[in-house]
């Protein structure tokens, strides 16, 4: 099974952290459904070009969070996740993307006002009706 995890080599976060947060996101936003069988540790490590040590750590962490469960001999599955937990993490990836955008702004020495102006412009471009009506 292929899992849409993308590693950004140049992010400062350690590899295991990137993999773990993306996998957690895929489970919490329902893209990976309850009961889905995950790739074996070696298989996922090979597809992400990372070590089995890292993937094992990710699986163990998510298992202790209750998001995964491992059945001896059969593999690692997505556990049942309650709706409240899902709701609490719905916007995780969006927040993360905004964080990166703000970091890029800081790197280019944007002021807070400039960043906010850019944000408003982009939102207006993508949500034309709502933006137009409110002004």
């Amino acid at each position: 099974m292929w899992i849409p995890i993308q590693i950004d080599e140049n992010r400062p976060e350690p590899l295991y952290h990137q993999i773990e947060s993306q996998l957690r996101g895929l489970i919490l936003n329902g893209q990976l459904e309850e009961g889905a069988l995950l790739p074996s540790i070696r298989e996922l490590a090979a597809s992400l070009k990372c070590s089995v040590i890292t993937v094992r750590r990710v699986y163990q962490d998510l298992e202790s969070e209750g998001l995964l469960r491992t059945r001896q001999g059969t593999g690692t599955f997505v556990a049942k996740v309650d709706e409240q937990a899902k709701a609490g993490h719905r916007l995780d990836r969006v927040i993360e993307a905004f964080e990166r955008a703000v970091e890029a702004g800081l790197q280019h020495r944007c002021s807070q006002e400039e960043l906010e102006a850019i944000f408003r412009d982009i939102v207006r471009k993508h949500y034309p009706q709502e933006g137009g009506e409110s002004e």
Binding site: E9, N10, P12, P14, L15, Y16, S40, R42, E43, A45, A46, K49, C50, S51, V52, I53, T54, R56, Q107
Partner: protein, 305 residues
């Protein structure tokens, strides 16, 4: 056997040394973990092949070697050798006159676990099942494929490969990686591979062992290594003076452009924090390539000599 044995060592060396004219290897004290892929990386002549050869006691050496929990003693290690697969750096001259089939038959008589079906499947997968004639007449790559199939046909507990991809075309190389992943999928197998191909190391290895001039520079978990080693481009503040660099934890540095410095560090987080404390602007942070990390480790070693 449990499918997830990672804690014990597949190979352990203590005080292993080889002394020959013009070449000194060791003394090496080392444990190579079971269940993982350990890549051995180093410049030409750094002792990668010697390390693999002393593991199998193919070369006289001082010290103690244990493989798969058994001591490698001259003449008394046949049983443990039957649980190991090995592809040497260069093909054996004494096999020149054999056909692939004859070589396989010879290997089959040696290894109790030999599986002809696995052998033929491997040959087919490497696209080498049509190889005929004496090994000497085969292309370098074709001969390599036969050697790999022979080394893996008994599904060894420990597979030792010395630059296995030399001579392989890109398709065969990819197939080899797939077969090695499949081999490791079993969970309790161990692969030790000497390689100078960065992509091979990145795709296969769990641990990386660096060698230089017959010495082990260190053995690292691959992802941690690439997480920690980064190259930074920084711009110091104008009034920084001349000693700002000396206060930073860096492994190497160079002036990349007027007023811009490229720093190499094995403590990415710490170095970045220090740069910010000193008022430096960090323009970019990138992961380092394997060869650049090796270069830093070698320079560090040379400084201590």
């Amino acid at each position: 056997m449990n499918a997830m044995v990672y804690t014990d060592a597949a190979a352990s060396l203590s005080g292993v040394a080889v002394r020959r004219d013009g070449f000194a290897f060791g003394p090496v004290d080392l444990e190579i973990p079971r269940g993982l892929v350990t890549a051995i990386v180093g410049p030409n002549g750094s002792g990668k092949s010697t390390l693999l050869r002393v593991l199998l006691k193919l070369e006289p050496c001082e010290g103690r070697v244990e493989l798969l929990g058994e001591p490698m003693d001259d003449g008394r290690d046949e049983e443990v050798k039957a649980r190991i697969g090995f592809v040497a750096e260069l093909p054996h001259a004494y096999e020149d006159a054999l056909t692939p089939e004859e070589k396989a038959k010879f290997a089959a008589s040696w290894y109790p676990g030999w599986d002809w079906e696995r052998y033929r499947k491997l040959l087919r997968s490497f696209d080498a099942d049509q190889a005929r004639g004496k090994l000497r007449k085969l292309s370098k790559g074709m001969r390599r494929k036969v050697e790999l199939a022979c080394a893996m046909a008994h599904n060894p507990e420990l597979l030792i490969l010395d630059e296995p991809s030399s001579g392989l075309d890109p398709f065969a190389w990819k197939t080899m990686l797939e077969e090695l992943h499949r081999f490791m999928e079993q969970g309790d197998r161990t692969l030790i591979i000497a390689s100078h191909i960065t992509q091979e190391v990145k795709r296969l290895a769990d641990c990386i062992l660096f060698m230089h001039r017959g010495k082990v520079l260190g053995c690292y978990e691959k992802d941690q290594l690439f997480d920690e080693w980064r190259s930074l481009v920084v711009q110091p503040v104008a009034e920084a003076g001349s000693d700002w660099l000396r206060k930073l934890p860096v492994q190497g540095w160079a002036e990349a452009a007027p007023g811009l410095y490229r720093l190499e560090t094995d403590k990415a987080g710490e170095t970045q924090a220090c740069c910010q404390d000193q008022g430096c602007r960090i323009l970019s942070v990138q992961r380092m390539e394997l060869e650049d990390i090796l270069g830093c480790l070698i320079r560090r070693e040379e400084r201590t000599r």
